[in-house]
């Protein structure tokens, strides 16, 4: 019975408008972000630029962070991203005075004119400026004390600034040398076998969409029963609640993985083209492995949230809940865009082909992250089966209660 039911659910999914809207949005997003992917190949000595990278060097981090602080102190306006959106913070006189003291303690700068001079020197070169202002730290300043004082600045600004502990490294953007670029290329070709790096970039972009889109599919699938007045008709059937719910869920997940795998063929084709030109070997299954390991848990979780809340409430509440979760996850993961800082974020980022070491060193965390969400989704589906079984027998009428309350309130 289950196989037939699963096949029927797949067919229902394919014939739903929302599924094709999902596929179109996913495709548009893919082609707008990754559609013109062009593997440029080996760096050539004497190139105008080899790109930029985040530095791990504490001295560089301190210099760049203090340069940024000096600039913002000079302008008396600080950029922060407390919930992801940009916010300009203008501290009051007392707060600005304290920031000035910190700048003096960390960089030895007392006078605005010094900052003005440094900025003029840095920006008025006439050439391309790839990095921000850098100010050397005061002699004897330890990195730990620097971190402590920067955290104080972040607290004064209300959080989300470039001075929080997790954000300090993102200030240390430095230009790559030919050697850096060669090292990155060699790592990409040897350790990542080219496709590994591109598969991570593919997953980074796709996970942004796949952490929200499946909820629409799940909610509309479940609400379709209510709209079509099919709930009772299905409830009195012999099929078990587990068979009904799991077949629906699996159909959604499988049907969403299909466009993901199809889209992954584009960067794979480009990788194959480049590999044949450069005479290197690639991992042909990298996109499949990454898609299942990275993206499948996102699809599973977003669909499970939609499923459980729709079955429980018979409303589109799942869209709201998943939307809020997605929003928070996207913006809280912005500090780790370049990969390696996966944590437990629902949308782990790795928005670069490079940073293999960031991926490799934090692979266990990423694996734990993805496993956690896969487990959460299985738990949610199990809860959905339990709720559905109750509702089939006329229990847990949450929708009825919500609307009865609304009616009572409107009467009052």
């Amino acid at each position: 019975m289950f196989r037939s039911l699963f096949a029927k659910e797949c067919s229902q999914t394919v014939r739903s408008l929302i599924y094709w809207l999902t596929v179109i949005i996913l495709s548009l997003f893919f082609f707008s972000q990754l559609g013109d992917i062009n593997i440029t190949g080996k760096p050539v000595k004497g190139q105008e630029s080899y790109g930029v990278k985040y530095s791990d060097d504490e001295q560089t981090i301190m210099e760049n962070t203090l340069g940024r602080l000096a600039e913002e102190y000079y302008r008396e306006t600080y950029s922060t991203y407390p919930i992801g959106f940009h916010k300009s913070v203008k501290p009051d006189e007392e707060e600005n005075r304290r920031i000035g003291e910190i700048l003096e303690e960390t960089a030895g700068i007392k006078d605005m004119k010094v900052i003005e001079g440094l900025m003029a020197e840095h920006y008025n070169t006439g050439g391309m400026i790839m990095t921000g202002l850098a100010v050397p730290p005061a002699r004897g300043l330890s990195y730990e004390h620097f971190q402590k004082l920067m955290q104080e600045v972040d607290d004064i600004l209300g959080g989300g600034s470039s001075y929080g502990k997790d954000m300090l490294k993102s200030n240390a953007m430095v230009e790559m040398t030919y050697e850096d670029a060669m090292e990155e290329y060699d790592t990409l070709v040897e350790k990542d076998r080219l496709t590994g790096g591109y598969a991570r970039l593919f997953c980074d972009y796709m996970s942004v969409m796949l952490s929200i889109l499946p909820v629409f599919l799940a909610v509309t699938r479940c609400l379709r029963d209510r709209r079509a007045k099919m709930q009772e008709l299905i409830a009195v059937r012999k099929a078990s609640s587990a068979a009904i719910i799991i077949s629906r869920y699996l159909a959604m997940v499988v049907m969403l993985m299909i466009p993901v795998l199809v889209l992954s063929c584009f960067p794979l084709a480009e990788s194959i083209r480049y590999a044949s030109e450069a005479g290197i070997s690639i991992d042909y299954l990298a996109f499949v492995k990454y898609s299942f390991g990275w993206l499948l848990p996102s699809i599973m979780t977003a669909a499970a949230v939609g499923l459980v809340l729709t079955v429980l409430t018979d409303t589109a509440l799942g869209v709201l809940v998943q939307g809020i979760w997605w929003f928070i996850s996207i913006f809280s993961s912005m500090s780790g865009m370049s990969g390696g800082m996966y944590g437990w974020n629902f949308v782990p980022r790795h928005n670069t082909v490079g940073n293999y070491s960031g991926f490799h060193d934090n692979f266990a965390q990423l694996a734990a992250n993805r496993t956690l969400y896969a487990v959460i989704s299985i738990v949610l589906v199990t809860v959905t089966v339990w709720i559905y079984a109750k509702k089939r027998r006329g229990k847990m009428d949450v929708h009825g209660k919500i609307f009865a309350n609304r009616k009572n309130k409107s009467k009052a």
């Binding site: 099919m230 009195v236 009904i244």
Partner: protein, 292 residues
């Protein structure tokens, strides 16, 4: 094999409101009518039998299986809900096939049963039509077909003729009678004509209580000698309505031919007539309202 539905001391509550009060019924093979006003508790009883509502108190067994065994009950009952509908974009055949899968039928069973059932309900030629394109009557017939798709021992049909035109209604009743030859069919309705035309055994529900349980003939006999007919002027009609329950009337120019309930002839022109089920039902309900 046990082919009876036994309901003993069934009480059903919605919060503090009691929807069914000490209901006791035994329902055997054939058509069984459940008659009552809107809100009498018919749908509640049907839903309890179809495992859509958990019973609050009492015992129910369907063909020997306690109603608590929902999985088993579901495999032996078919249900046509009051508000019947299906996914509008599915064709008639697809809808049947989908519900067949949910009923646990194999592909072979579905392929062999569905065309026959659609022929039975006169929808075979419309099998490729989308559900949203069906008329009300066609939908109801499709509803019956889906309800007996898995060949259930019991068919529960809730207000099936509401909104149907007279021709469809007659066709639908005949269809139910055919189906009832080999199984228990419980028909819930507030339309007395449906019961009169199809059921041998009936129960009348009023405010959650069984007012009557027995044969249609016995119910009719209760009103025998209490039904009168008279031709009166229109001006006399309102006075008559105040004193007696009028079960039907027919306007004849300035006069009205009325049929009403009375213990004895109230005036000389009134003559006793044979009681019908509708008269008997009204007589029963009059007693319940405490009227004379």
């Amino acid at each position: 094999m046990n082919t009876e539905i036994k309901i003993r001391h069934l009480n059903q509550f919605y919060g503090k409101k009691q929807a069914l009060k000490d209901v006791n019924l035994t329902i055997g093979k054939g058509m069984f009518g459940l008659l009552g006003r809107n809100g009498a508790g018919k749908t509640t009883l049907m839903k309890v039998l179809a495992t859509l509502l958990p019973k609050s108190q009492g015992k129910i067994s369907i063909c020997g299986t306690p109603v608590e065994n929902a999985a088993r009950i579901r495999s032996m009952t078919g249900y046509l809900p009051q508000e019947f509908s299906m996914y509008p974009n599915m064709t008639v055949y697809e809808a049947m096939d989908y519900l067949g899968v949910l009923s646990g039928l194999s592909r072979e069973e579905r392929n062999s049963r569905i065309p026959g059932l659609l022929r039975k309900v006169n929808l075979l030629d419309d099998r490729k039509k989308k559900v949203k394109a069906l008329s009300g009557g066609m939908k109801r017939r499709l509803g019956i077909a889906q309800a007996i798709l898995h060949n259930p021992m019991v068919l529960i049909v809730d207000e099936p003729t509401a909104g149907l035109d007279p021709e469809e209604r007659v066709r639908f009743r005949n269809l139910l009678c055919e189906i009832a030859e080999e199984r228990i069919v419980i028909l819930s309705t507030h339309i007395v004509g449906d019961i009169e035309a199809t059921c041998e055994q009936i129960a009348v529900l009023n405010e959650g209580e069984i007012l009557y349980h027995g044969s249609v003939a016995e119910l009719t006999a209760m009103a025998e000698g209490k039904v009168y007919s008279a031709e009166i002027s229109r001006t006399e009609l309102s006075e008559l309505k105040k004193k007696y329950i009028v079960t039907s009337m027919l306007t004849l120019g300035n006069n009205v031919m009325v049929r009403f309930l009375a213990d004895r002839a109230p005036f000389s022109s009134a003559h006793r007539v044979e009681a019908g089920v509708e008269d008997a039902y009204m007589y029963l309900m009059r007693g319940e309202r405490g009227e004379e």
